[in-house]
Amino acid sequence: MTTELLYALVGVGLFSLGLYALFVRANLLRKILAVNVMSSGVFLVLVALARRTGAVAPDPVPHAMVITGIVVAVSATAFALMLMLRIVQETGRAELPDTWSE
């Protein structure tokens, strides 16, 4: 197994772990962490496989894509955290109710 494939598989594992936690965990902060783990997994697959160029330097396009992705992820996280805090302020709990109607 090459280094590239190993890390790509770890990326797949992180994606699946995050996905599982996103469904199973009720606490909103944990759900936000889960989304971040998922995105890390996707980025890892993207960058690990970028080394298979056969040349000295890896393919720079995935690197640029990941930097863009990291900024998008932190933006979404910041917004999600504030939304969570406002929900806690309104409902007293950092969880989504099972039914949404009043």
Binding site: Y20, L33, V47, T53, V61, A64, I67, T68, R86
Partner: protein, 320 residues
């Protein structure tokens, strides 16, 4: 397998397992604070992985943004969470442990394993050699105005992605500000030790940001790493008890906040009016234009990240 390969293999396996374990522990831990600390550790290990994968630019971004600022945001949110929960009269204290979502509790983990296996299979079936776009990037690097291929892709070849992405960051701030304000929570006064640390570190971080900005043209670094470092300085200042006043929602600060997107838009309008392609650089001026755009972006990213850490609109926080 020679000794060097074996060491590398051991290192890779340990790192990979470490990533999976840390992620799992962060997502499964019973206390939120533990989860966050483990998540930050996960981010640091990710940064190490990026270095291992020859992606130093991403490693810098990950340390500064992924682990650093996201960690700070998470910790701040946790502190506010406790404050908000005690301030809310409606606080319905359930069991402190995480209650699994009722409906999805029995979500078939087997199905998920199947998905993971399918994904793993398709990753393994990918062609062993693919050059991607490295040759195209290499062939046009001279015309891009910078020597670092990642910066060339970010600011020139795929500069349009970066334009949209800066607006994503701006949008996050608009979104956070539109959510209104939280009840005030008490911040511990900073002691002499923290103050000294901030006094030493904040100027150093600003210097480092300038270095990243400059270095990005030919080596690892660039606007995002620089902006995140600047943002970290802002976070440090806030940790030491400094608070942005209502003036920070007024025009001069707004202009700095918008320096990045505004410069991008102005440049795009310029190319539109002069009949060029959108965001087209003349090769001889590309270097200086990219530096200009990156400088604007650095200020915007830094200030936006610091503002996101603060949370509500500064004039909202004052008005209550």
């Amino acid at each position: 397998m020679d000794a060097q390969n074996l060491t590398q293999w051991i290192f890779d396996t340990l790192t990979g397992l470490g990533l999976l374990c840390l992620a799992w522990m962060a997502l499964a831990s019973s206390q939120l604070i533990k989860a966050i600390v483990l998540f930050v550790a996960f981010g640091l290990l990710m940064a190490l992985t990026w270095v291992r994968l020859d992606a130093v630019d991403i490693a810098l971004a990950e340390v500064a943004i992924g682990a650093g600022l996201t960690g700070a945001l998470l910790l701040a949110a946790l502190a506010k969470l406790t404050a908000v929960q005690t301030a809310t009269s409606k606080a319905a204290h359930r069991s402190p442990k995480d209650r699994a979502a009722r409906k999805l509790y029995r979500m078939p983990a087997a199905l998920l394993l199947l998905v993971a296996a399918g994904l793993a299979y398709s990753v393994l079936s990918l062609p062993l050699n693919s050059r991607g776009l490295s040759i195209e990037v290499g062939a046009n690097l001279d015309a891009s105005g910078v020597g670092n291929p990642v910066t060339a892709v970010l600011l020139n070849f795929r500069g349009y992605d970066t334009l949209l992405e800066i607006f994503v960051l701006f949008l996050a701030l608009l979104g956070v500000w539109s959510l209104g304000s939280l009840p005030p929570h008490r911040i511990e006064p900073a002691g002499p030790v923290l103050n000294t640390l901030v006094v030493v570190l904040a100027p150093l971080l600003i210097l480092l940001a300038a270095y990243f900005l400059w270095a990005g043209a030919h080596g690892p670094g660039g606007a995002f790493q620089a902006g995140a470092t600047l943002g970290a300085a802002g976070v440090l200042l806030q940790l030491a008890g400094w608070k942005p006043g209502p003036g920070f929602a007024r025009l001069p600060w707004k202009l700095i906040l918008l320096a990045g997107p505004a410069l991008f838009i102005l440049f795009a309008l310029f190319t539109l009016v002069t009949g060029q392609h959108l965001l087209e650089y003349a090769p001889e001026r590309a270097g200086i234009l990219i530096l200009l755009l990156e400088t604007g972006a650095t200020f915007s990213i830094g200030l936006t990240l610091a503002a996101l850490f603060f949370g509500e609109r500064p004039d909202d926080a004052e008005g209550r």
